[in-house]
């Protein structure tokens, strides 16, 4: 692991994006451009469409109008990591099994060794819990386990939805460091948050309730 070389240059472009949920427009006419090594904060009140925007970018929702393009990446290679409100952890699986599973899903072909898993768990401060079932972890620890996925399989674009929720102060500084490293490696981050990000964002996109 510890792949620290920079990601290839990537440009995320959104053109005239509109999203409707339940027959109501959440936002429309949204355009932005984000280049490698940039952090974009998405702010706005509850219901302004922060999560919907991230889900659009992740390909989990289809835009009602407009389009999203990712320039520079290889066509057949998915580029994004999505960290939503849900941690996607199975209580009955141990942390090691969970990481091994997602590692296999996310990096098709490359086999992960035990030390890869240990390293990823260690880097989010869960090295001691690697053999515990995920069900016994606390909310903050579960959040850290979700973060370990981002480290385990490097991908250039991180879509983070309220990434600081449930994290303690150590967890916050951990995530700050991870985000800093990612930006340093020419990665892109789009983070939806309603509190100030610990790293000053390059651009801020403010959504308003329509």
């Amino acid at each position: 692991m510890t792949v620290t070389e920079a990601f290839p240059a990537l440009k995320l472009k959104a053109q005239d994006l509109a999203c409707s949920r339940g027959g109501r427009f959440v936002f429309s006419g949204l355009s932005f451009e984000l280049a490698s090594g940039a952090l974009m904060a998405v702010t706005g009140p509850n219901g302004a469409g922060k999560s919907s925007l991230l889900r659009l970018l992740a390909g989990l929702l289809r835009p009602t109008a407009g389009d999203i393009a990712c320039e520079g990446g290889r066509e057949d290679e998915p580029v994004a990591h999505y960290l939503g409100h849900l941690d996607a952890l199975k209580p009955a699986m141990t942390l090691a099994e969970t990481l091994r599973f997602w590692g296999a899903i996310y990096q098709q072909g490359r086999v992960l060794t035990d030390s890869d898993l240990n390293e990823a768990a260690e880097s989010v401060g869960l090295g001691h819990a690697i053999d515990l079932p995920v069900g016994v972890l606390s909310a903050g620890q579960r959040r850290r386990a979700a973060l370990a996925r981002l480290i385990l399989s490097p991908r250039p674009l991180w879509l983070l939805d309220e990434p600081f929720a449930a994290l303690d102060s150590q967890g916050e500084s951990l995530l700050r460091r991870l985000m800093g490293d990612h930006i340093g490696r020419q990665g892109l981050i789009v983070a939806a948050t309603h509190q100030a990000l610990p790293i000053p964002p390059d651009t801020t996109l403010t959504l308003n309730t329509t």
Binding site: D87, A88, F101
Partner: protein, 222 residues
């Protein structure tokens, strides 16, 4: 491919561990089969005649158990989102879940069926015939059930709805399964034709069900 295998492995593990559905399906199968002789009464000849049909109906019902968690759990805990973001083909994910579910619930039923045949006064050839036809037909039951599970993934308490959606579609499998078993045991009845139809049901379901399930999962996501 490694992703596909990982999905199968995870499904089997989740089904076998606490809160999984493997034991429930097997116990349900056992309960249905043991209840029938009490209802039918002490007519051993009658039991032996309807035995294969009982085993098949019980296997069909047991195959429907646990399907509601197959995709419902992934949708609720956010795993489905991540699978889609990862770029793993959704049809392959659905197939992996189906294969894992069959290994954990379908295969044990195939193995248990001949043993439970003892309770129904089946003779050894009949036990073998039931196990063989279940082996050929139960993948179809699971795969058709997968489509129902995908369609109801977004619904709370979709379990009963799955049964209503899936049961009519599994009737051909049941008919060919039971007639192939009868064909294997009594001479004038044909065996090969219904057995080949049974295999065809499984193969057709294998070819189609993952794609239909993937489309249904995409719909459930919106």
């Amino acid at each position: 491919m490694s992703g596909f295998l990982a999905i199968i492995r995870q499904t089997v593990r989740l089904e076998l561990r606490a809160g999984g559905g493997a034991a429930v399906a097997l116990i349900f199968f056992l309960a249905v089969v043991t209840a029938v002789p009490f209802g039918v009464g002490p007519d051993l000849k009658l039991l032996a005649r309807i035995g294969p049909a009982i085993l098949w109906v019980a296997a069909l019902l047991a195959a429907l158990l646990g399907l509601d968690r197959l995709f419902g759990a992934d949708r609720e805990d956010g795993s489905l989102d991540l699978i889609i973001v990862s770029g793993e083909p959704l049809a392959l994910y659905a197939l992996g879940r189906a294969v894992g579910h069959w290994l954990a619930t379908g295969l044990p039923i195939v193995v248990a069926a001949p043993v439970l045949g003892l309770l129904l006064n089946l003779d050894p050839p009949a036990m073998g015939a039931v196990a063989l036809t279940l082996l050929a037909g139960s993948p179809a039951l699971t795969l058709i059930g997968t489509v129902g599970a995908a369609l109801t993934a977004g619904l709370p308490r979709g379990g009963l709805l799955i049964a209503i959606l899936v049961l009519p579609l599994t009737v051909p499998v049941l008919i060919f399964g039971v007639s192939a078993t009868t064909g294997a045991l009594s001479d004038p009845e044909p065996f090969l034709a219904p057995f080949l139809f049974l295999c065809a049901c499984s193969l057709a379901a294998l070819a189609l069900a993952p794609f239909v399930a993937a489309a249904a999962l995409r719909l459930a996501l919106e």
